[in-house]
Symmetry: D2
Subunit: 361 residues, 4 copies
C-alpha cells in the first residue's frame, strides 16, 4: 500500500444511508420503532428487522439486529459509484485502518460493501449497490400523524473534535456549523455531504460512542404528535429533551430514547447547504441559544449518555476520555441546567454580555 | 294541547349531537367512515354502526344504518335537561307537527327521546339521556393524520329559507351569517346554539333534503391529509369541492362524498359566537368570495345534489321545488362555474364593483 | 345588607372578557404586546393602551395602564344582559363585598360596569355594554405568523382552592378539571362559563395574585413562531416554560413573561365543555403528566412567581400564605424539577405506580 | 454548428439561482412581491428591485426590472467554480449559440457571468461570483405568516419537450419525472441539479416562454395564508390554480399571478433526489391525478398563458407553435376542465380504466 496518502482520492460519498443498531430485545425495539414511530418494515426475521422511512427508496435506513450488548454496529454511507467502494477501501487502508470487504454486503438489501474501523474508532460502511423498494412518498393511506420521512443524520461522540473534523474533511465532508469558545476549544462540529446541514456531527465527549440517529418529518406538528403519542402510551420518561428549536442547524427537534437507551432525534426544517461557498456558522459555547434557540435547558443526560460502538469483530470499542473542556461543565450550573453567562462573570474578553450570536457570514 | 303557541317554551337546545344516516351497503360505508376517515366504532352489529369522533364523549355522533334508500333518518340535538325533551314534544305538537316519543330511545346509547317531523319536513330528534363513553381526547396513540375531532354542524336544503329561519329562531337558534341579494332574496342562513358559527345551516334549494354533515379537525393540515389519502386510495373522484377557505364562517373546508353520495364536510377554525350581541354577517350573493374566500369556483353538483330525508315512518319525504331565485343560477356562468359580476353588468344599484365584502358589524 | 344570600340570583356570566393590567413602562409593554405578540391597538394615549386579539369584536381584551406598581387591576367578565350587572352588584353586596358601580365604565370602550373586591381578594368586573369594533377575523393582511386570536382565560393564585372553587360555583362556574391528592388536598381547579375548559383557573398558592392571562392561537405552529421570534429578538430569557402539551385541558401551551414579569400564556386546542353533564376530570398531583403531558419539568418560578392584584383604591392586596401542601413541594425534587414517584416510594395507598392517569369519566 | 460537441465539458451547475423579470409598473410589482408575498429587499433603485427569500444567502433570487414589455430576461444558474463560467461559455459557443460575457455581471450583486441564447431560445445565465448577504434564516422577527424561504425552480414552455430534455441532459441535468402517453408523446419533464425534484421543468406548448417561477415555504399552512391574505386584499382573481397537491413532485402548491400576469408558484415538500440512481417517475397524461393528486381541475389558462422571454438584445423571442399533441387538448373536456377517461372511451390500449398510477420504480 502506498504510504503517500494524498494521491489517493476519497470516495464520493452521497449521504448517510443507514444505521445498523444492536438491540437486546427485538420485540421491544419493534414496538418502539414500528408501533410508536411508524417506521415501515421492508423485511424481518428472528435476528433482524429492516426498516425504512416514508420517502426512502433503498431497502432500509435502519437495521435492528438482536445482540447481547446494545450498540451501534455500523454507520453506513452510500457512495456515488461502485468504484467509490474501492476508493473507500483503499483510502482507509492507506491510513492503516482495518477494513473488511464483502461483495454480498453485510446486511440484506445491500450489495458490495466495505466496512472500516475509522481513525476515531467508529465502524463506517460504504456501499453503492442496494435493492430498490417501493418509495412510499404518496402512500398517504400509510401516513401516520407523526410520520418519519427521511434519515437525516448521525451524531457521533469523540474526544478530540478538531482531529475528527480534519479526518472527515479529508474524506470530503464540509462543515456547516460548529461550537467553539474564545480559547479555541471546539465542542462540536456539523459535517455534510448531501445538501442539508449534516450527514453526521461530532460531539465532544468520551468516545467513540454514538450520540444519536436522526429522522426528519415533513412539519413541526408531526414531531409534536410523537410527544403526544408517547404521553398517551405513558412512556413520557423516554422523552429526553425537547421539542425545541435548535440554534445550530435551525431545525425543530426532539430527542427520545429507545428501549435500550439508544437516542433518536426527530428533526425538521434545517436549511440548504449545496452552494460551494456555503458559510460555516460558528457559535460561542456560552451562547445559551446555540443548542436551543429558546434558551431551554439541555438536560445533563444528553451530554453524558451515549451508545457503545462495535469494532469489526462485534466487540464494543473501548472509550477514550475527552481531555478538552466539556461543554456541559462550561455551561451547566450547579442546578444541573445550562445558563447564560451574565455580565461581569466572564473570564474571557468579548463574552461580557449574556447572549451572543452565532457568527454568521 | 294548547292552541296558543306563544306561551309554550322552546326546548333549551345545547348542540347538534348526532346524525342517523341510512346507507345501502354497510361494509362500503364502514370502509369510508372508519378506514378512510378514522371515526371510532363505539358499537356495531349487522344493521348499524355507531361512530364517534376523537373528542366526543357521548355514545356516538354518527349512526350508519343499513336500509334500502340512502337518506338522512334523523338530525338529533342534545337538550339541556330531561324536561327539555317534554318541552320539545309539546312545542312541535302545538305547531301541528307529528311527534313520536320513545323512552328508550330510537337508537343505542340514547335514552328518552322525541322525534318530530318539523315544519320544513325534516326529521329532528331531541334527547338528553345518553350513555357516556371514553372521551378519546388524549388517546394520541389512536390519533390518525386526518383525525376528525368533533361533530360541527348539519346543513339542510329547504326551498324557503326565510320561513325556515323564522322557525329555527323561534326554536331558539340565532343567526350568525346569511347570504342575500339586494332584492331581499335569502339564499342561505347559518344558525347556532353552541358557541360556533352553526349547529345547522339552511341552504336554499329543493327540499327537504340533507346537504351535508360536517366534522371538525384540529388543524388545516389534517384536512389536507384526508385529500392526500383519498388520492392515494384512488378515490379522488369522491372529493367534490375544496379544500378551501369559506367566506361565510371563515372555516377551512373540504367536501367529500360517501359511497351513497352523502356529502361530508371536513371543517376547521370558524369563530366564537357566544356573546349575546354576536353580529349577523350578511354576504351579497354576488360576492364570489362568500363561499370560497379565494374565489375558487363552486362546482354545480354542490348546488344541485343532496340526500333525501325520511319521515317518521321511514319513507323519503317528497321534495318541494324552490321558487325563489337559485344561488347557482345567479352566480354560475355558461361554463358551469361561478363568477363575479363585473363593473357595468350590474342590474342592481350598489353592485357595480366586482367584489363586495360581506357586511360586517 | 341582605344577610340571606340564597335568593339572590347570580349574574349570567358569558365569558372572561378583558384584563386591566398595570405596567410600569408603557413603551416597553407596548413593544412586547404589540411589536412582539402582535396584538392590535384599538386606542391608546399617554396613560393606557387598549388592545385586542384577531377575533375579538369588543373594544379590547387587554388594557395596559401605566402605574407605579406592576399589578392586575381588574379581571373583567362580560354578562348576558344589562340587568346582570345589577345582579352582580347585588350578589356581591349580599356577601359583604365592597362594590363600585360606574355607569360610564372604568375604562374606555366599556359602559355600565360594577367592580367588586371578591371574597378571595380579587378585583372582578362585570359589564354588558361595550363598543363594538371591527372583528379582524378575515383581515389576513394583518395576520402575523404568531397571531393571537382570542382571550382564552385568566389564572388566579389563591391559598384555599376549595373555598375559591365553592365561591365560583355559586357564581355559576362549572369545574372542568382539578388536581388533587389522595389526602383530599386540592391543588388547582379549572372553572368555565363559555364552552371551553376554563374562563379562569385557581392555582393553590400565596394569594390573591394573578398567575397569568392566556390568549389562544389557531394552530400549534403559531406558538412555535412566538418562541422563534423571541429567540431572534434575544429575549429567550422571557420564555419561562414550554412550549408543551398540558395534561390538564389538553391544550398546547407556552408561558412567557412581559417586561414587568406579568405571565402570559399562549394556548391552543383544548376541548368543548358545553354539554350539561360535561365531566370533571381529576388528576393526581403525583401524575407527572398532569401539567405537561410529555413529562417535561415545571420550572420552580412557575409555581412561586405571580403578579399582585389591586384593591378598588388601586393599592396592592396583601397576600395570604397558603397553608395546604404546595404542589411544588410535593412534586419537585432537590434538583429543582418535578419528578414522578417511583414504585416503592409511595406514602399513599394507590400511588405505587410511577404514572397515574387523570381520572376521566 | 460545431459538429465536435463531445470533448467540451458541461459546466457544473449547482442550482437555479435567480430570475430577472421585466415588469411594466415597478411600484405595482413591489406591492405584490414585497407587501403581499413578503420577499426581502436587498437593494432597489428607480429601475430595479433586488429581492431575496428568507433562507437565501446570495444577493437576490429575483430581480424586478422596469421595462416596456413584461417578460423573463434571464434564468440564472449558479455554477460550482469560477472556471465553470468559462465552461458554460465554451459549451454554448460550441453549439453555435450566441453568448455574452460580462466580468462585472449583468445585474447588481453578481460578478463574472455569461448569458446565452440557448438552443430552445431561452436566455440562460451562468455565474459563480456573487455578493453574500445576511441569511435571514433565524430572523424570525421578520418571518411573515406566508414566508417564502427558497427559490425552488423555474418552469419553461417549449414546443418540443424531448429535444429540450436531451439538451438539458447534455448540460448535466437529470430527469426526476415526466408525463407521457402511450403513443410516446412527451408532455412535460422535470429536470434537476440540486437534490430536489427540479431546478427547471419543461412544459410542452408554444415557446420559448416562461411558465412560472416557484418559491418554497416551510409548511403547507404558509401557502394557505397566502391565499387567505389575497382574499383579504380582494385580489383573489390573481389566484389562478390551487392550492393543491401535485401528483408529479408530490409538492403542495399554489399558482398566483403578478400584476403583469407573470405566474408564481408557491411550493413545499417535494422529495430528495440526490442518490445517483434516483428513479425517473413517468405519469400517464390520462391520469387525472398527475397534476393534482386530488383530481381537482387544471384551469385552461394554466395551459395556455405564459410570459415572453427576451433575447440578449432585450427583444421578445418569437414563439414557435407546438406540433405535438397538447396536454390540454387530450385531457380537458368541453366544459373547459380536465377529466379522467372513463372505461370504454379509451383510444389507447391499457387506458381503459379511469385512473392510472404514475409508473414508479
Ligand atoms: Ca374535485
Ligand atoms: Fe442531531
Ligand atoms: Fe357546512
Ligand atoms: Fe392557563
Ligand atoms: Fe412548478
Amino acid at each position: 500500500m502506498n504510504n503517500v496518502v494524498q494521491p489517493l482520492p476519497a470516495p464520493d460519498i452521497v449521504r448517510c444511508a443507514y444505521l445498523e443498531l444492536v438491540v437486546t430485545d427485538l420485540a421491544a425495539s419493534r414496538a418502539f420503532y414500528v408501533d410508536v414511530l411508524g417506521l415501515h418494515v421492508t423485511e424481518e426475521d428472528e435476528e433482524a428487522i429492516y426498516l425504512r422511512s416514508f420517502e426512502e427508496f433503498i431497502h432500509h435506513n435502519l437495521v435492528l439486529r438482536k445482540g447481547p450488548v446494545a450498540a451501534a454496529a455500523a454507520f453506513a454511507y452510500r457512495v456515488r459509484t461502485p468504484e467509490d467502494v474501492d476508493r473507500a477501501e483503499a483510502w482507509y487502508a492507506a491510513r492503516g485502518c482495518r477494513t473488511e470487504r464483502r461483495r454480498d454486503g453485510f446486511v440484506k438489501g445491500i450489495g458490495d460493501s466495505v466496512r472500516v474501523q475509522d481513525p476515531l474508532g467508529f465502524p463506517y460502511e460504504f456501499f453503492y449497490e442496494t435493492e430498490h423498494v417501493e418509495r412510499l412518498t404518496q402512500r398517504y393511506d400509510l401516513y401516520n400523524a407523526g410520520e418519519l420521512v427521511r434519515l437525516d443524520h448521525f451524531n457521533q461522540v469523540t474526544p478530540d473534535v478538531p482531529k475528527g473534523r480534519a479526518y472527515l474533511e479529508e474524506l470530503g465532508f464540509k462543515v456547516s456549523e460548529d461550537i467553539k469558545d474564545s480559547d479555541g476549544v471546539t465542542y462540536a462540529a456539523w459535517m455534510y455531504r448531501k445538501q442539508t446541514v449534516h450527514d453526521t456531527a461530532l460531539t465532544g465527549g468520551d468516545g467513540p460512542r454514538m450520540h444519536h440517529i436522526a429522522f426528519s418529518t415533513h412539519e413541526k406538528h408531526n414531531i409534536i404528535q410523537i410527544c403526544d403519542k408517547m404521553g398517551a402510551l405513558r412512556i413520557s420518561d423516554r422523552i429526553e429533551r425537547g421539542p425545541g428549536r435548535h440554534g445550530v442547524s435551525n431545525a425543530f427537534y426532539l430527542y427520545i430514547l429507545d428501549p435500550d437507551g439508544h437516542r433518536v432525534e426527530i428533526y425538521t426544517q434545517d436549511y440548504y447547504t449545496g452552494d460551494p461557498d456555503n458559510p460555516t456558522v460558528t457559535w460561542d459555547v456560552h451562547d445559551n441559544q446555540r443548542r436551543d434557540w429558546w434558551g431551554n435547558p439541555v438536560v445533563p443526560s444528553w451530554y453524558t449518555e451515549a451508545s457503545p460502538v462495535l469494532d469489526l469483530d462485534g466487540n464494543p470499542q473501548p472509550v477514550v476520555i475527552r481531555e478538552d473542556k466539556s461543554e456541559m461543565a462550561v455551561t451547566v450550573g450547579a442546578d444541573g441546567f445550562s445558563y447564560t453567562r451574565q455580565a461581569g462573570e466572564s473570564e474571557e474578553p468579548g463574552e461580557e454580555v449574556g447572549f451572543k450570536l452565532g457568527q454568521q457570514l
